[in-house]
């Protein structure tokens, strides 16, 4: 087995459920030790992809290798190096948090002592010590997710699949989950995360692929994806119509949009430092008073809406040039 720099590779994944063509040729490569986000709306095929990568589902066509192992031929070996946290918390409601951890540890083929010691460590890491002896059915949503993630880490697998780990969590629990996930990444774990939150992919992932309708529609880093949609924009606000008109003259062709009601103009900036400085100098030379200014980067929401074609009043001013 030759080790490449990729922990996970998938080529040409196709999967249909009856006439529902869920995946129509997904390719992805995930470098070892990086976090990769699979971004897409509901029904895009995220969960199906994760299920195929984690041996739960067989693809109709295409191949998947995890650390050089084929997911179909070497399913058990693959299972011993992956951890999966699915959408619905996969923990036993009637068992306590500790019992869940120890049981799953044993099923991962850890020895009894090792499973117990590791369970204690995870309970501490995930702030679940106080609840350790309570049945899981008494846990809150956030606690359940934490336990669920802890369970998938019981044998410290080098590869983790997180299927929408923060869906349905309140903002505080979400931040706590993000911290945990970042911590995992810092330890060198390869992570594949699915999410429908653009902010989450932006915050956590090194690389993002956007899928929709079972196809990859874009791939890259967060900033690469953003630059596909448009450049940064500078918005300048003025006190009155007179200043606005003067500013339009002073800035000339740099202006791509203006708002006569709010007395604002928008310019595209290619290089933040020099372009902003130049705009301000032009205004200063023309003795125009500025009320406020702001720099807007396209958000991943813009990216997403542009790429999936589900336009929702997205401003594409930058593209009109």
């Amino acid at each position: 087995m030759t080790k490449t720099e990729y922990a996970i590779t998938a080529t040409g994944l196709i999967k249909s459920f009856g006439s529902n063509h869920v995946l129509q040729g997904i390719d992805l490569k995930i470098k070892r030790g990086t976090m990769f986000a699979l971004l897409g709306p509901n029904g895009a095929g995220k969960t199906t992809t994760v299920k195929i990568l984690s041996t739960l589902l067989k693809a109709d066509a295409g191949t998947v290798t995890i650390e050089g192992l084929d997911v179909c031929d070497d399913a058990d070996k693959v299972r011993s190096i992956i951890g999966l946290t699915g959408q619905s918390a996969a923990v036993d409601e009637l068992l306590t948090g500790r019992e869940n951890l120890v049981m799953m540890g044993r099923l991962y083929r850890l020895t009894k002592d090792s499973a117990k010691a590791r369970a204690q460590e995870l309970l501490e890491d995930f702030d679940l010590v106080k609840a350790a002896e309570r049945p899981v059915k008494t846990y809150s949503g956030g606690m359940r997710r934490r336990l669920d993630l802890a369970v998938s880490l019981i044998a410290t697998p080098p590869i983790i699949f997180l299927d929408e780990p923060t869906t349905g969590l309140d903002p505080r629990s979400r931040l706590a989950m993000w911290a945990i996930i970042n911590n995992l990444k810092a330890r060198g774990t390869t992570i594949l995360l699915t999410t429908q939150y653009l902010e989450e992919a932006d915050q956590l992932a090194d690389r993002i692929i956007v899928i929709d309708g079972g196809k990859v529609i874009a791939e890259g880093t967060a900033s690469e994806l953003k630059s596909k949609v448009g450049k940064d924009r500078l918005e300048l606000n003025f006190n009155d119509k007179k200043s606005l008109q003067a500013a339009k003259v002073a800035l000339g062709s740099a202006v791509v949009d203006s708002n006569e009601v709010e007395y604002s103009v928008t310019t595209v900036i290619n290089e933040t430092n020099s372009d902003v400085k130049q705009a301000l100098e032009s205004l200063s030379n023309a003795q125009i008073n500025l009320k406020s200014l702001s720099v807007h980067q396209p958000t991943l929401d813009d990216v997403f809406l542009t790429l999936t074609g589900k336009q929702k009043a997205v401003e594409t001013t930058g593209e009109e040039e």
Binding site: T55, L56, R79, I82, G86, S88, A90, L110, T111, T156
Partner: protein, 269 residues
């Protein structure tokens, strides 16, 4: 990471066996913690036994052979009926697992997936053993007496255990096939009700019409009941003993692999 992980390096078949034990422990905990169900395990047999014995006792005892009380006659039937109905819980447990995310978890582990079914089936054996014990004690309290020897009792326990195991595997199949817990209840109702009532569980076959009698006399549950009954009453066991064993083993030979195949197929959907 502070804790050093030590993996169990025993041979694979032993680890698979160990998975089964772990899952049995899990299901056993479910049984103890599911207090509503546990209450049913205790009170249902008491209720059934007392009600049947007192309500039907007077009317049916005239149809029984000289010297046999209805309670003595009923004991075998009601134990088997309770076990048969009790197997529904296996079906529900299997169905529950399949519907929840925990099944995906189990399947993503390097464990034996069949252990999930084994766990439910075997722990059901304990629960039904408990039910049966409660029933026998209740019987003794309300006047049940038997001439069965220790050896007879061992044979009785063996037969009941074999029957429970058989029925639980059939129930596991129902649990796999059903789409919901409500579905499980209907499936088992349709299977268990006719099989237990169209048998000699509560009445001797002599009073039934010909068609019913033909069915009742030859279906597996009747053989199990008649064998247990003969051991309790000290009457000749006839062909019922070995027929009961053959039926159970035969059903097991079909049901275990079938349940496994269906389970595997269902859980990969």
């Amino acid at each position: 990471m502070a804790v050093e992980l030590v993996f169990d390096k025993r041979p694979k078949w032993l680890l698979n066996l160990n998975d089964g034990l772990i899952m049995i422990a899990r299901s056993a905990r479910h049984i103890v913690r599911n207090t509503d169900q546990l209450a049913g395990t205790f009170f249902q047999p008491i209720m059934f036994l007392v009600l049947f014995a007192t309500v039907f006792g007077g009317a049916i005892s005239q149809a029984l052979p000289e010297g046999t009380t209805y309670l003595e006659f009923l004991m075998a039937g009601i134990i088997i009926q309770t076990v048969a109905f009790g197997s529904t819980t296996t079906a529900i447990a299997v169905c529950n697992d399949l519907q929840k995310g925990i099944m995906d978890r189990f399947r993503s582990l390097p464990m034996s997936n069949l252990a999930v079914l084994t766990g439910h089936v075997i722990s059901d054996l304990f629960r039904n053993g408990l039910s049966t014990a409660v029933m026998v004690v209740t019987g003794l309290v309300i006047g049940f007496r038997t001439s069965a020897s220790v050896l007879d009792w061992l044979a009785i326990i063996g037969l009941i255990a074999l029957f429970t195991l058989t029925f639980s595997w059939v129930a596991a199949i129902m649990g796999v096939l059903a789409k919901s817990v409500e579905g499980v209840q209907w499936l088992s109702f349709i299977l268990v009700f006719p099989l237990t009532f169209a048998s000699t569980a509560f009445v001797p076959e002599e009073g039934m019409n010909r068609g019913l009698r033909l069915f009742a006399a030859n279906q597996p549950i009747t053989h199990v009941i008649e064998a247990v009954r003969a051991l309790i009453l000290g009457t000749p066991i006839g062909n019922h003993g070995w027929l009961a064993v053959i039926w159970c083993v035969g059903i097991l030979i079909v049901a275990v692999p079938l349940a496994s195949i269906l389970f595997k197929r269902r859980s990969t959907q």
